[in-house]
Symmetry: C2
Subunit: 351 residues, 2 copies
């Protein structure tokens, strides 16, 4: 509101929800803190609750933690190279549980909202994909809900999956300490670019496929390799590795330095991203994690990751520093520059 | 498919999802069993899982049960007399937990999908309503998710809430036994008719307001009044009391007889329903439960319900019989007739 009491165009814009508010970046975090989480802080139980804005909640149950995580999936198109909305939903929820240390899901819920006129054959295809992905993850769907909206009231289908699982020790996204090494479990940028290519019908030589996969067993192997040595985890989905690292660094009170030559990026991803003017650091992944690991355990954890089929491209890509809190610094080998924190994922409905 | 290999018009219709598949009745149950639940049965953990199609799942954790329940809310309009989508979401999930015996929610998740251009002021109003309803129920939201879909891709807003809570003893919707009394916790038909009146801008003398409310504490009082005497519970939402009773009777292997003069129906509901050619038995409620109670405990449970502000209109409305399995028989005082099981709720997007 201006001093005259009249609203500026900027004020007017802020009165409406825009696509950036769903993009996984700063705009979304502001909307949640200012609107959706407000007032609940006082009522939070022991553990990690709403205000932490982690991948889920961790609630004290006896001497263990019950991890709970929820995601709605609005991806477009619903079938894409390497996956579909069903695989994305199951993997997304299994991975969010794993990011907090619950690598054996107790159960998932599945709430489907379908547009009138949706083809049952497509629903069956999505269902089969969910069943297969659950079996890969050792998970199952224990309850669900079905709603139908009228024609034109919903673009096809959206799926919410919520997961519960126990963790003996919770790993948050806020535990990085100076000196910790930063590991990624594989190549970055694959999911977002596969979606983008499919949506814009780009004709490409290389094979662009989403990396969507449940990585709970990969994460379990990393955690078991060096108990207590993994200080923080996050899956770099919307907003990519950059968004995940900015959030982790800010919450942990550290700075991060990435060594660009160490970043695993497939050549086709690098060239397509360059063609489109995008940075793979900003592009969503759906089968990857970034881990903070105590320096003396980094090699052991890396070896455990690489021994798993989903972690064969894992790499130590950087380290945490005490300075430049909340920043992500890219060391190109020739010099250093700040990685910008974008508002969020450049593409809407990526997941 | 006909013998000629050509599809009949009926086959063609069955290839598409229609509004009836979201109406909470037989069509929806068929869709879920044939498509969405298929294949998961083999993977279910100990307890009540997907195949039971109860209000949620109950998973064995030590000597207790972890109850998990999920619902997406697509109600239209989002603000209606007596409530809004936020109150509906919280109450719906709290009540589903309570229906399985988990009357003290451990935590709820809240996943919001918003259409681009949605007004932030409305989001704030929904948020306040969720906060207030949580406090009424002694519940809180522990984690969430926010997605934005483009203009025209979603009609406004949908909200998924998933809840977790512990129960020492699980109450299913399948435990009715011959002789059990059937109790409802209050008047029926209020939610659905309030929605219908609001949507069609009916001008009415009487006050039509939704009954949407969290009834976990009411249910806790009933359970505590006569431990072990409540044999089954269900909240009569989509499809109304008729749909809930048909499902309970079928799963329990009993018949049910309702005494029409005993059914609590507000006069305004009775007259508006008559005017619209609807039966209050088929209309959705959002702050009520139907309970099966051992006959010797029915009066004690009734007294406990009536002592609570949300149960003052509670009534014993019928009983279970060994014959007419899966049926709902209405005793009008002058004679008996079968209550038809409709395909589901007559109005789309009721919850």
């Amino acid at each position: 509101m201006s001093a005259t009491g009249l609203k500026s165009p900027a004020d007017a814009r802020e009165e409406l929800v825009t696509l950036k508010h769903g993009a996984g970046g700063r705009a979304m975090r502001r909307l949640i803190l200012e609107t959706l989480a407000e007032g609940f802080a006082a009522d939070q139980p022991e553990g990690i609750g709403l205000a932490a804005m982690d991948d889920g909640a961790a609630l004290r149950v006896g001497d263990r933690w019950l991890v709970v995580t929820t995601d709605s999936h609005v991806v477009h198109p619903i079938f894409f190279p390497g996956g579909d909305i069903g695989r994305l939903a199951v993997a997304g929820t299994v991975n969010d549980l794993a990011m907090m240390g619950a690598t054996e899901p107790l159960g998932l819920t599945c709430a489907v909202i379908v547009e009138e006129g949706f083809r049952r054959a497509e629903l069956e295809r999505i269902h089969r994909s969910m069943l297969e992905t659950c079996r890969e993850a050792g998970a199952t769907i224990v309850t669900g809900d079905t709603k139908v909206m009228g024609r034109g009231e919903l673009d096809g289908i959206v799926i919410n999956t919520t997961g519960v699982g126990f963790a003996d020790a919770v790993v948050s996204d806020a535990g990085l300490r100076p000196g910790d090494r930063l590991l990624v479990t594989g190549t970055i940028g694959d999911h977002g670019l596969a979606l983008m290519a499919r949506r814009h019908s780009l004709e490409l030589d290389g094979d662009l496929r989403s990396d969507v996969a449940p990585i709970n067993r990969l994460v379990a192997a990393a955690l078991a390799a060096a108990p207590g040595a993994v200080t923080a985890m996050k899956d770099p989905t919307r907003g990519g590795l950059s968004s995940a690292l900015h959030e982790m660094a800010e919450k942990s009170g550290v700075g991060t330095v990435l060594h660009e030559p160490a970043l695993p990026v497939r050549p086709v991803i690098r060239s397509v991203a360059e063609m489109l003017g995008l940075d793979p650091l900003h592009i969503a992944n759906e089968g990857k994690a970034v881990l903070g690991v105590r320096p003396d355990a980094a090699d052991v954890v890396l070896a455990a990751l690489r021994a798993h089929p989903l972690g064969r491209d894992a790499a130590i890509v950087g380290a945490c520093i005490a300075e430049h809190v909340g920043r992500v610094i890219l060391d190109t080998g020739l010099g250093r520059r700040l990685v910008g924190e974008v508002e969020g994922e450049p593409l809407p409905r990526i997941c």
